[in-house]
C-alpha cells in the first residue's frame, strides 16, 4: 500500500485538519468529527444533515455550505458515523424549523441515523425527518432484502433539497423535494480496480487485469458480476441500459451525471460522458443539465458510475440555484 498518510488510524482526523485549514467558511468539530458551516444556523431555515463513512470525498463534507448541507458527519473510512456524532450535528444546525437527515441506504447508516433521531427526539425535541436514498439499479429490490443502495443520486438530493431549504421551504416541503429527487433518479456503477482501505492495507478484492466489476457499490464491496474488460462504448451501454430499463425518463429532459470513483482521470470521465450522451440521444432523451467529475468516490478505486435524474421545472430551478461549497459552486 502506498498512500499519503502518516498512520492509518489518523487518516480521518488529520484530513479534517486540512479541511478546516483550507476552508475558513467551514467549521470542524474535531471531537465529534462533524463539518459545519462557519456561520450560525439561520433562524427559520430547515437544517440539512448528511453523513456516512469517510472515503467518498467530496461527499459529504465537501458539500457543506450555502445552498447545500449545513453539516456532514464523518464516520471512519467506509463506516457509518455513530449516533453521538449525528446528534451533535442535528443540534448544531437547528434553526427552529426542523432538521432533514439525508441517509444513504446502507444497514449501518440507517440504524445509526435512526438511533440518533430517537436520541434527539428524547433529549431536545428537535423535529427530524429522514430521507433515505436508494437509487442503485444494480441491486434487485424486494421485500426480503435491505433494498437498493444509495449512490450517485445522493449528491443531487443534497444540492436540490439544499436549495429548497435555502428558499425557506418547510421541513415537509424540503423532505418532499428530497424524496422526489430520489424517486426520479437511478444509478449504475462499475469498477476497473478495487480500492485499498488504509486500515486494511491491501485491496478489498482482487480484480484481474482483463476483467471489470459491474454493479459495484461505493465501499469496495464487490458488485453483481464480473465481465471481460470492454471498450468504453460497450461499458457505457452496460451502465445506461439497466437505468433506462428501470424508469421511464420521458422527453422533458434529464440531468446526466458521470461520476468518477476516485482513481479515474477526468479525460476518461469525459470520454464516458460522450458515450452516455450519445446513448441518451439515440434513446430520444434530451439532456437538460450535466455533471462530470469525482463527487461520490470509493477511495482510490478506478471506475465510474452513471446517474440519470428526470427533471421537472421545480427541480431544474433548484438545481440552477446558487451553491457555495468546496466541491460544487456556481451562481455566487
Amino acid at each position: 500500500m502506498k498512500k499519503l498518510i502518516n498512520a492509518p488510524a489518523d487518516v480521518l482526523s488529520e484530513s479534517l485538519l486540512g479541511v478546516e485549514a483550507a476552508h475558513p467558511e467551514l467549521r470542524v468539530d474535531h471531537e465529534s468529527k462533524v463539518v459545519f458551516r462557519a456561520d450560525p444556523p439561520r433562524q427559520g431555515k430547515v437544517g440539512l444533515v448528511s453523513g456516512g463513512g469517510s472515503g467518498h470525498e467530496p461527499l459529504h463534507g465537501g458539500f457543506v455550505g450555502e445552498g447545500m448541507l449545513d453539516a456532514a458527519c464523518c464516520g471512519e473510512v467506509f463506516t457509518s458515523p455513530v449516533p453521538d456524532q449525528i446528534v451533535a450535528a442535528t443540534n448544531g444546525v437547528d434553526g427552529g424549523a426542523g432538521v432533514l437527515h439525508i441517509v444513504k441506504n446502507y444497514t449501518g447508516d440507517v440504524m445509526n441515523f435512526e438511533m440518533a433521531a430517537e436520541m434527539a427526539a428524547a433529549t431536545t425535541g428537535i423535529e427530524v425527518v429522514p430521507v433515505v436514498t436508494d437509487d442503485d439499479v444494480a441491486v434487485q429490490d424486494s421485500t426480503y432484502t435491505v433494498g437498493r443502495r444509495g449512490v450517485g443520486v445522493t449528491v443531487l438530493v443534497e444540492k436540490i433539497a439544499g436549495a429548497a431549504a435555502e428558499q425557506g421551504r418547510s421541513l415537509t416541503e424540503v423532505a418532499d423535494v428530497a424524496r422526489t429527487v430520489n424517486s426520479a433518479g437511478r444509478s449504475m456503477g462499475m469498477a476497473l480496480t478495487s480500492c485499498t482501505v488504509p486500515a486494511a492495507g491491501e485491496p478489498t478484492f482482487d480484480l484481474p487485469e482483463d476483467e471489470i466489476e459491474l454493479g459495484i457499490g461505493i465501499h469496495g464491496e464487490p458488485g453483481r458480476r464480473r465481465v471481460p474488460l470492454a471498450p468504453a462504448t460497450e461499458i457505457a451501454e452496460m451502465l445506461v441500459e439497466p437505468i433506462l430499463g428501470d424508469l421511464e425518463f420521458g422527453t422533458d429532459g434529464v440531468l446526466a451525471f458521470v461520476n468518477g470513483m476516485g482513481g479515474t482521470p477526468l479525460i476518461e470521465l469525459y470520454l464516458m460522458y460522450h458515450e452516455v450522451d450519445r446513448l441518451l440521444s439515440k434513446a430520444g432523451i434530451p439532456v437538460a443539465r450535466s455533471l462530470v467529475g469525482n463527487y461520490i468516490t470509493s477511495l482510490d478505486m478506478a471506475g465510474c458510475s452513471v446517474t440519470l435524474l428526470k427533471l421537472d421545472d421545480d427541480l431544474l430551478r433548484l438545481w440552477d440555484a446558487p451553491v457555495k461549497t468546496p466541491a460544487l459552486r456556481w451562481g455566487v
Binding site: 467506509f78 486494511a200 457499490g217
Partner: protein
Amino acid sequence: MMLGDVATVIDATAVRAWLVSFAQEVADNRELLTQLDAAIGDADHGANLDRGLKAVVAALDGIDQANPGDLLKATGMTLVSTVGGASGPLYGTLFLRMSGSAGGEDSLDPAQFAAALRAGLEGVVARGRAQAGDKTMYDALAPACDALDEALDEGVGLDEALGRAADAAQAGRDATIPMLARKGRASYLGERSVGHQDPGATSTALLVTTARVMAGEGSP
C-alpha cells in the same frame, strides 16, 4: 449437585471477565474477521469491533463498584458510541437489552442470564430486522439462546449449559456458509454471498464461546 469450583451464579466479576475475554478474542481474531468481511462486505468488521471493545475494556477499568447490569450497560453505550457501521447499533443494542433484563441484581442465576441473553437477541431483531437464515449474527445467537434454555431445562450446570450454547453458536456460524445473504452489505452480492462465512455470526460465536469463562476457572 456437586459442582466443585464451578460457579453457579454470575456476578459482576464474572461478567467483567467475560467482556474482557471477548475483547481479547476479537483482538486475536481481528484479521480473520476483516478477511471474512472483505469477501462479502467492506473489510472493516475486525477493525471496528476491536476498536469498540478496546474502548469497552477502558470504560470497564474506570468502573469499580458495579452490578452485572451496570457493566453490560456501559458496554452497550460504549459500543454504540465507538463502533459505527451496523455492528455498533446491533452489538450496542444487544448489551443494552441484556442490561435492562439484568436490572439491578448483584448476581444472575443461570436462568436470569439466559433470559438476559434472549432479551439481547430480541434487541438485535428489533434493530436489524433479521430473521433466521438471513446470514447474520442472528444465526449464531438464536441457536445459542435455544441451546442454553434447553440445557437449563434439563438441569445441567452452568458450565455445561454455556458449553452447549457455545457449540450451538459455532454450528450456527458454520451454517451461515451456504446461506444467501439477505441483510447488510453482503446482501448486495446475491448468489455470490453463498460459500462465505458471515463475519457477524463469527464474532457472535466468539461472544458466546467466551461466556464460558463465567462458569469458573479453566474454561473454556
